[in-house]
Symmetry: C2
Subunit: 487 residues, 2 copies
């Protein structure tokens, strides 16, 4: 027992972000990197239970907005991939190829899906016949596989990750454009309002859009070290895929037309990285109430001396089970202090300390993970109090994350200011020449000299630089773009 007590607790302060992140993942038993295939993570129960809840919230919102779930095959023939030229060029270098089955060589090699456009749209071409079949709004929760050559990091960049991908078809361009807006709203409703992760949607420069898209809107969030992490992105595909995949419909005017398409891809796996990173503190994880794998832990005190304590804990557990609050009693053979540290590290939102006094008074001592505030609650109002404290905790975590995000918004009028800002982290807004091909050299210069990445202009409200000049080349600025260092 003593031996185990010594090794507990996070030793790196969160200000040492990279070490802290790795330590929390290992010690809170979120994931294990020791599976012997590079870039493939073993996900342990504590992360899976959380991500399952995150999936629930996301899928509920997808269904509320009229999407229906599908499961498409994990393997896609090479010939499907080759139908859209930009798409194949973008993804082929990252594909894992299945070439054999049993001891047979396959006639055509099969791609493990890096994304499912090329599997789904050939079926859409069969399913869609008339304007009555539109809009078609389908999504799947699944894994995808990408042979990343950059360094992999748990939940941030891996060769296997878990996401949702939605693929929609509309009769009109307007329908598709409205979907892109709805995707941004879905992201806000779930990722910000429920998970507490702030972000901004940027229209990506042409050189950084999704392969095959007309344009890409991507949500960028910040990690505690001030670096940018890309979160869900939504893409207007226009007719770029409907033409090669023959996704056509007969419209009300009896004319045959190509569908207008969008796709949207929230990676639950990666959003989980933001949840760990943004909400955690020096002691470990802090989960929002809604997605905590365990919302309440009951720690019995002096239950060996006082036999009524455990029975009382069981009563409370039963009451919370019935109220659909997830709860466990920690009866392990450790001291209460050790248990407090353990559950704080694991991010359980609320702890109930139950000793003989609580039994006698018919109360519970409630301690919040975020504020450490202690208060005595009468059993009668326990469920109500837990729900309101849980909600308050989630709000506090979100407010703190929002405030961190806001503090990291900068501006720069020249390269020198940009350099100074980039060293602080966060986003820096600059006047910029062009987001199409002409703008590549300036982005390259920012990358080479300052290690900054041009993320694009705001997608929610385009900003006009008016008479401003590009701070890199001095030509007329067409946009305000945001620059930062990305993960």
């Amino acid at each position: 027992m003593a031996e185990k007590e010594e090794i507990i607790g996070i030793t790196n302060p969160k200000s040492n972000f990279s070490e802290w992140f790795s330590e929390v993942i290992a010690k809170a038993e979120l994931a294990d990197m020791r599976h012997n295939v590079k870039g493939f993570l073993v996900h342990r129960p504590w992360s899976v239970m959380t991500m399952e809840l995150m999936y629930d919230y996301y899928e509920r919102e997808m269904r509320r907005t009229g999407h229906k779930p599908v499961w498409f095959p994990a393997l896609i023939p090479e010939s499907n991939f080759k139908k859209e030229a930009e798409h194949v060029e973008g993804f082929i270098p990252e594909v894992f190829w299945v070439t054999h089955a049993g001891d047979k060589k396959l006639e055509e090699k099969l791609a493990m899906r890096p994304t499912s456009e090329t599997a789904m749209y050939s079926m859409y071409s069969i399913w869609i016949r008339s304007w009555r079949d539109l809009p078609l709004k389908l999504y799947q929760r699944c894994q995808v596989w990408r042979y990343e050559t950059k360094a992999t990091r748990p939940f941030i960049r891996g060769r296997e990750f878990f996401w949702i991908e939605a693929h929609n078809v509309f009769a009109t361009l307007k329908g598709a454009e409205d979907q892109v807006k709805e995707d941004m709203k879905i992201t806000e409703n779930v990722m910000h309002k429920v998970f507490g992760i702030p972000f901004l949607f940027f229209r990506r420069p042409d050189w950084d859009k999704f392969p095959g898209a007309v344009y890409t809107y991507a949500a960028d969030s910040l990690m505690p070290d001030g670096r940018i992490i890309q979160q869900p992105s939504t893409h207007l595909l226009g007719q770029n895929f409907s033409k090669p995949f023959d996704v056509k419909f007969v419209d009300k005017d009896k004319k045959e037309k190509y569908g207008w398409q969008t796709c949207y891809g929230p990676a639950i796996w990666r959003i989980f990285a933001s949840v760990i990173a943004l909400h955690g503190d020096d002691k470990g994880l802090r989960f929002p109430w809604e997605i905590a794998p365990m919302q309440v832990v009951i720690v019995p005190i002096n239950h060996h001396e006082n036999k009524s304590v455990l029975g009382y804990c069981e009563q409370l557990k039963k009451m919370l089970d019935e109220a659909c609050v997830s709860v466990e009693i920690d009866e392990r053979d450790y001291t209460p202090g050790w248990k407090f540290n353990d559950w704080e590290m694991k991010g359980v939102p609320i702890r109930l300390e139950i000793g003989p006094r609580e039994v006698k008074e018919k109360t519970a001592t409630l301690v919040r993970r975020d504020t450490k505030d202690k208060k005595k609650i009468r059993v009668k109002s326990l469920v109500r109090e837990l729900e309101s404290e849980g909600e308050a905790l989630s709000q506090k975590l979100r407010r703190e994350a929002d405030s961190f995000f806001r503090k990291n918004m900068h501006q720069a009028r020249n390269m020198k200011e940009l350099e100074a800002n980039l060293s602080k982290g966060g986003f820096t807004k600059i006047a910029y020449c062009s987001m199409d091909i002409e703008g590549v050299p300036c982005a390259q210069k920012i990358k080479d000299e300052l290690h900054g990445d041009v993320r694009g202009e705001r997608a929610d409200k385009p900003e006009n630089p008016k008479a401003g000049k590009c701070i890199v080349c001095g030509k007329k600025a067409k946009h305000f773009v945001y620059v930062g260092k990305q993960y």
Copy 2:
């Protein structure tokens, strides 16, 4: 509209089972076989919504019995596979191999998991240290891939399917044996009590057990054509894997010991085949209330003439939404009769017909999918009535399935009787010489001459043939075994 009305409805009677099954899958839009990789199915919303609910019930039961969820990588190095000799021999012929990534050849080829023993147990070897770490009970919901060479059929046999796999480790053989019993109980609690699918667990003959197992208990159910379909199986692995994978722990007596293991694999995908097949009728699907993708459909009548009808339907929908009953209003531009047929084909348990009369009376006309019984319900008691009618429907479906199962249990005293029974379908109980290697020739003879498969002896209550003789070879019978034709 007329054109579409003509093609609706199932044309094959269920007695033409094979054609009926394919027709229902296509017309009720459960799945599509036209993805261009053989044996890989595209799952449409109507099947996915059902299977998601089936997963929910199964996972809840897994968690209730102390299992925790994990997500393991889809790719497993060839070297892991080779650690357990029987296992590698059993699975290697079915493996899809990844040999390349991008344009690079991989140093070691990677198997797409056909099952996860060899991925998980190498991690178990790291995680398990002491008796305190046991039992370890983990499961994952995932897909697996197997290069089946037999003919594939949707939801029955495919090269990609969706299941749950549980992998448990215990300090003692007794612990592992108790788990096998718990797995049988879990199967009963979910597959029979909730999904309404009857089955019997058989201890498989040695020549038919899971590769690497000490013994296999497998649940066999029946399809409407009297053929057997294997459903979940649970395996006592003993120390057959813990030794090669080095899954050891220090016991209370300070001695290092190998763990005792079990694994259990309910294939949601295949259980869904039984749900379609057993509960369906000549008109199409019939879903139990608990797993129906839509529990109630509201069909408005004369709503074009009477403007109050749709508003009233909306009120009912809101009431049911709040009561967590899944419901849609069918406002499509078809006749009520067409809609009735459509939703009957799709298996929605209860239909509410709402016309001006119902609005005026504050009632709803409720029609059950199974009995076709119509009754008027007052709005005040609607939720309660729906729940009780829904439950009654589920019970009726289960009772019908149970009765069909019972009627298909036969006995035979000689090969001639066995032959006659096999042509009727179902299970035939016979006295049999031996379930170990000596029994192979008799099984082979039954297979060659009568196309029957020896499924093993009852796992729930072994039956003793006493002085009986094997009906094939005439030697002393050690077991009663059950024979049938399998899918």
